[in-house]
């Protein structure tokens, strides 16, 4: 699998797009989606919620388990992907595209976000 070069990544396996008008898109990586298996339920924050980098802001449920969704940055939620709520399998089939989870207006971001190459090395280890 390849991690798109234009994205940045958290060690919790979220990806973050470059900001457009201060708003970035967030999803989970293909590596994470593969490790989870078939995703069957997605609980996302609501538009207007404030999320905090490194803190839980939702849930991803797969056949075998449930795990927290962590916010990779701090900011305000401006949109959530209703398509992925209706069809959670998008997280597996298109993690970097149609399976995006939410958009966030960033007010603060941690210093340890990874580049694509750094994330690839991180998950290989």
């Amino acid at each position: 699998m390849s991690n798109p070069q234009q994205l940045r990544y958290s060690k919790e396996h979220e990806w973050l797009s470059g900001a457009e008008d201060g708003v970035s898109t967030v999803g989970i990586t293909e590596h994470a989606a593969n490790a989870l298996g078939d995703v069957v339920f997605v609980q996302l924050p609501e538009v207007g919620d404030t999320v905090t980098a490194g803190e839980s802001c939702g849930e991803l449920e797969s056949t075998k388990s449930v795990s927290d969704l962590y916010a990779p940055v701090t900011g305000e939620i401006t949109a959530v992907n209703q398509d992925v709520v209706d069809d959670p399998s998008l997280v597996n089939s298109a993690p970097f595209e149609g399976g995006w989870l939410f958009k966030v207006r960033i007010t603060d971001e941690p210093a340890d976000l990874l580049s694509a190459d750094e994330y690839t090395a991180f998950t290989a280890g």
Partner: protein, 388 residues
């Protein structure tokens, strides 16, 4: 997503990682070449899934699936008193099983607690094969060996003597027929006969753990790869796919079949588990647990303990083993197994609940899912029964 979460997911199993070396089946290299996600299951490195576990599940329900079950524990019991020994050691009437037939049964402690659930195949007049769960194989072997004292019978550890490959699903008879001359039409459910499949000597059993028609093939480990490849080729045109343990778990859950460590434990008797029918008091002679089980049967009749029921979610959040079942703010039971059901398209669970809330259709029952009480419908098991 947390890193620890991922590590746990990759395990795919709720038991802690064993510090000892994992065991590998004869098909290990083949699984890796197929890109399987592997998992530690009872000390064995087993395929969890090859691709989508949902697709694997649906293939078994509608076409066919191929499983490596070589982790299962085979124990051979032979000798003039093999039948008498098994009648003493197990709760079923094993002496009454005909040659070439199989029986689902249990082995219990003296206090009636379930040590394991088993399938026993009668291979010959004085030869049986007992198949135990991987996690309990040593316990069963030790118990049978101890209980064999005084019987003219031998208990043999044959765990390494067999690989076990299962073909399950409606297309499985056709697939197998193309590879064997054995009389499959004459082979009934819960029967087994020796034969040759794809040129490989095999014990062909019509058993499984999926709720579908299907076969389990016990072969020598050195023949496993050859047989797997022949079955794969024979199933190519009819949708056979390799299947991992993840879909095996959702298949058995839909079929209402218990899993040891979840619905069955040493703190439950077969009567507690709603499986009192496997205990045969009418058989001749004493058997381990008879006295305690007689009491358990009477208690189950007069004052039913918690009852094993099915739960179907109205929402989409999935109940997991250990979650509390609630009604009117009170805890009335506990989930033992739960998963999203590919067939029903909803989360399902098996749970032990107080008898007062166990009737199908009981109102107001929910599951506490991380603090939120999600509504559930109480149903009779199984969730899924195949059309014959």
């Amino acid at each position: 997503m947390g890193r620890n979460d991922l590590a746990r997911h990759a395990l795919g199993d709720d038991r802690p990682m064993s510090s000892t070396e994992l065991r590998h089946t004869a098909l290990d290299a083949l699984h890796r070449s197929l890109g399987a996600t592997m998992t530690d299951f009872a000390g064995w490195d087993m395929p969890l899934r090859y691709g989508s576990e949902r697709d694997e599940h649906l293939a078994v329900r509608t076409k066919a699936g191929l499983f490596d079950l070589s982790h299962m524990g085979e124990i051979t019991v032979t000798g003039p008193e093999a039948a008498a020994l098994l009648n003493f050691a197990l709760v079923g009437n094993i002496a009454s099983v005909g040659v070439g037939r199989a029986r689902y049964t249990m082995i219990c402690q003296a206090d009636g607690g379930i040590l394991d659930d088993l399938i026993v195949y009668r291979l010959a007049e004085t030869e049986y094969m007992v198949v135990a769960n991987a996690s309990n194989a040593q316990v069963v072997l030790d118990a049978l060996t101890e209980r064999a004292a005084g019987f003219d019978a031998e208990v043999r550890d044959d765990r390494d003597a067999y690989a076990l490959i299962a073909v399950q699903g409606p297309e499985s008879p056709g697939i197998l027929k193309s590879l064997t001359d054995a009389d499959l039409d004459g082979l009934k459910y819960y029967a087994g006969l020796p034969g040759t499949v794809a040129g490989v000597p095999a014990l062909i059993a019509r058993t499984g753990y999926t709720g579908e028609d299907g076969f389990e093939l016990f072969v020598k480990p050195e023949h496993a790869v050859e047989l797997w490849q022949a079955l794969t080729k024979a199933g190519e045109g009819v949708g056979l796919v390799p299947c991992g343990l993840s879909c095996r778990d959702t298949l058995r859950l839909e079929a209402g079949m218990p899993l040891y460590g979840h619905e069955l434990t040493t703190s439950l008797t077969p009567f507690d588990a709603g499986l009192g029918r496997v205990v045969k008091f009418e058989k001749e002679g004493d058997f381990v647990g008879r006295e305690a089980l007689t009491e358990a049967a009477a208690k189950a009749e007069a004052n039913p303990p918690r009852v094993l029921v099915g739960l179907i979610a109205e929402g989409r959040r999935v109940p997991r083993a250990g979650y509390a079942v609630v009604a009117g703010g009170e805890v009335i039971g506990e989930v033992t197994s739960g998963a999203p059901s590919p067939t029903l398209g909803k989360p399902i669970a098996m749970a032990y609940v107080d008898a007062a809330h166990a009737a199908p259709g009981t109102e107001g029952v929910g599951v506490d899912i991380r603090g939120s009480h999600e509504p559930y419908e109480v149903v009779a098991l199984p969730f899924y029964k195949r059309q014959k």
